[in-house]
């Protein structure tokens, strides 16, 4: 496959465009699709390219919009429903969790809901508590829905296409803080397998498992650590549900140490599930307590002064790893 360096946002756009071009069942619906700025550059002019029949900017009705996308999926389409901010999606939880996630099960597998629910984490910028959330943990908890969180341009494209091809409800969570990150991305349509993590760096001292934005930060951290002769193995989880237990468990079995970095609330979060699973599955191989690196248990503040303290930095990953190695 021919690749070239494009941004994360461009990769998202390309995935949408290629899906729209190749599959007449695909359409996009959600807020901001006719706006030049709602989705950043990730859907730039997509309405102009594919027409406003298939790129539908919706009323401010998250519940019905999402429900309509689900209904269309049940009726054989392959919609992508877009939530420009994950926070707003709370209004659509009934239709996502009670309906989409259950539909296959309650009808004994006679019908699937081939939908991608795209939710963007859009935080920072002094926007505050209702415009900053990263609530992937909710969806990890719910059977019947898959959850992916690309951290690179490559995965941003490949996972979106995989999501549409999957045939089941897939929650696709992208992060505005990654939109300008560049990476090599194939020009063609391709998929990244849902449920498979990516080994970003081989190492022997400690395993870092990170999601999305924190995977990017972890690369930075691993570099700093290597200067201190700490050899971190870095796993970008990519899929939250199902997640790649095999890769994570065998890495921790090898290194004996684990730091989990997820830029969301810690308590009851994604990192808790990984820690719980690893803690019981490779119990005998753990050399040190598993460390979770997550947001503090507080809503996002607005003041720039507090935002600086709230969000996670690569240096915190570095410290967490150092702490682990000192403790043993």
């Amino acid at each position: 496959m021919t690749t070239r360096a494009i941004t994360y946002a461009e990769a998202i756009r390309e995935a949408h465009a290629q899906l729209l071009s190749t599959d007449p069942r695909v359409f996009i619906i959600g807020q901001g699709l006719w706006s030049p700025w709602y989705a950043g550059t990730s859907l730039k002019d997509i309405d102009k390219e594919f027409g406003r029949d298939r790129v539908i900017d919706s009323p401010v009705s998250e519940n019905a919009t999402t429900g309509a996308a689900i209904g269309a999926a049940i009726a054989g389409m392959r919609p992508i429903v877009f939530h420009p901010r994950m926070d707003f999606m709370l209004l659509a939880f009934d239709t996502i969790i009670n309906q989409a996630a259950n539909w296959s099960y309650i009808f004994g597998g006679q019908v699937s809901v081939p939908i991608v629910i795209r939710a963007t984490i859009n935080r920072g910028g002094q926007q505050g508590a209702q415009h900053s959330q990263a609530i992937q943990a909710f969806f990890m908890h719910v059977p019947g829905i898959k959850v992916v969180m690309p951290g690179t341009a490559y995965d941003a494209k490949g996972l979106l296409i995989a999501g549409i091809q999957d045939g089941n409800p897939v929650m696709y969570i992208d992060d505005r803080w990654l939109y300008e990150e560049r990476g090599e991305v194939p020009e063609e349509i391709f998929t990244v397998a849902i449920g498979k993590a990516a080994l970003r760096r081989k190492g022997s001292d400690v395993t870092i498992v990170a999601t999305s934005y924190m995977a990017a930060k972890s690369i930075e951290a691993a570099r700093i650590l290597s200067e201190e002769h700490i050899d971190a193995e870095l796993i970008d989880l990519r899929s939250i549900k199902p997640w790649d237990q095999e890769m994570v468990l065998s890495s921790v079995a090898k290194t004996g140490r684990l730091v989990i970095a997820d830029a969301a609330w810690g308590t009851g979060g994604v990192a808790a599930e990984i820690a719980a699973t690893v803690g019981s599955q490779v119990f005998d191989r753990l050399k040190a307590p598993i460390q979770r690196l997550c947001l503090p248990d507080a809503p996002a503040p607005t003041s720039a002064a507090l935002e600086g303290a709230y969000y996670l930095k690569a240096s915190q990953i570095v410290s967490a790893v150092q702490g682990l190695l000192v403790s043993k």
């Binding site: 019905a64 269309a72 239709t95 089941n168």
Partner: protein, 342 residues
């Protein structure tokens, strides 16, 4: 008396212009719903059925009249009280009963029970008990139809209570905005569980929601199958013609308690009085009376009744004899990537 001897049988029409053949077929549908549900009521009382059953008895004309105006390919969506919608749209009676028994042969493979019915072969894309949940899904199916240009109509059946969920309004607005081929059929039976309509809203004016969202709406006698059929036919034409959605308020009454066979489980004195009135407006008896006017005989009705009862008894046998799903299959069907409807 009213039918002329010279007319070939079937050419007669009602004063409202409906063919008697169609009326007879709708009568059969209504009766089938009635008999099926009365049998279910007995089986619940007998303890043979355990899943919660919300009986449709008293409302048969709505499902029947509306579905008679639809094609097999058209979609319908329902709620917790959907045995009638399922049968009227052509769902398989036997597999629904097996489903109610929790058997693997059920229309939802024993995962859904009475409140989760499915028959995509006849356009029933799902009935679920979360109030109002299928309303936006119906809009989505209408959107699918519009995008594909396949002229299918999508019908959402829901109760008066469902109009209190905000998503009802969101959905009507979207259907109106995109002029989708959707029919919103609100079965106003004046109760949501134990709560009378005016304990839940300020005015008995449900069809005004249509005006608020700029769509055609009407309010009709939901115990008159002809009225339901006529209104639905117009709505279907409008939908297929790309002229957008319709809201139909069908005023009717459920005879039994909110859930289960009881006549008075959640009934205050007030409801008892109302019920007496409504029992006098039995939608099934009404059609039967019309058909009698056209010369249908008690013997003929008897035959039909017997046929249906026999069919239902066979279904009971089938359900009883069917196997339960196996415990080992508990985790099956959480995902079903291959099961995409075309």
């Amino acid at each position: 008396m009213k039918s002329e001897v010279t007319k070939p049988p079937g050419a007669e029409t009602t004063p409202g212009g409906l063919s008697v053949v169609l009326l007879r077929s709708m009568y059969r549908t209504m009766l089938r719903i009635r008999i099926f549900e009365e049998r279910v009521a007995e089986l619940v009382t007998a303890g043979e059925i355990g899943t919660p059953c919300h009986l449709y008895i008293g409302q048969e004309a709505v499902a029947t009249g509306v579905c008679a105006a639809l094609e097999k390919e058209d979609y319908v969506w329902g709620g917790h009280r959907s045995h009638g919608h399922y049968l009227a749209k052509g769902g398989n009676l036997r597999t629904m009963l097996a489903e109610i028994y929790g058997k693997a042969t059920g229309c939802s493979k024993g995962r859904g029970g009475s409140m989760h019915l499915f028959a995509s072969d006849v356009g029933i894309l799902g009935t679920v008990p979360l109030v109002a949940a299928t309303i936006p899904l119906a809009v989505g199916a209408g959107l699918a139809s519009k995008l594909r240009g396949d002229r299918r109509v999508s019908v959402a059946f829901f109760g008066d209570g469902a109009t209190e969920e905000g998503v009802f309004h969101e959905s009507v607005n979207m259907a109106a905005l995109y002029r989708l081929p959707v029919i919103f059929v609100c079965e106003n039976n004046f109760y949501a569980s134990h709560m009378q309509l005016l304990e839940r809203r300020a005015a008995d004016n449900l069809s005004k929601a249509g005006d608020a969202h700029g769509i055609t709406s009407s309010s009709l006698d939901g115990n008159d199958v002809e009225a339901a059929y006529r209104a639905a036919t117009i709505a279907v034409e409008r939908a297929r013609g790309g002229r957008g959605p319709t809201l139909l308020e069908c005023r009717t009454f459920r005879w039994r308690g909110h859930v289960g066979p009881s006549w008075d489980m959640d009934v205050g004195v007030k409801r008892k009085d109302e019920l007496k009135d409504w029992l006098g407006k039995d939608p099934v008896a009404r059609v039967r009376a019309s058909l009698s006017d056209f010369g249908d005989t008690p013997e003929g009705f008897e035959v039909m009744d017997k046929e249906i009862r026999a069919e239902v008894e066979k279904a009971v046998e089938f359900a009883r004899e069917s196997e339960y799903p196996r415990a080992s299959e508990l985790l099956d069907h959480v995902f079903s990537p291959g099961a995409v409807i075309q």
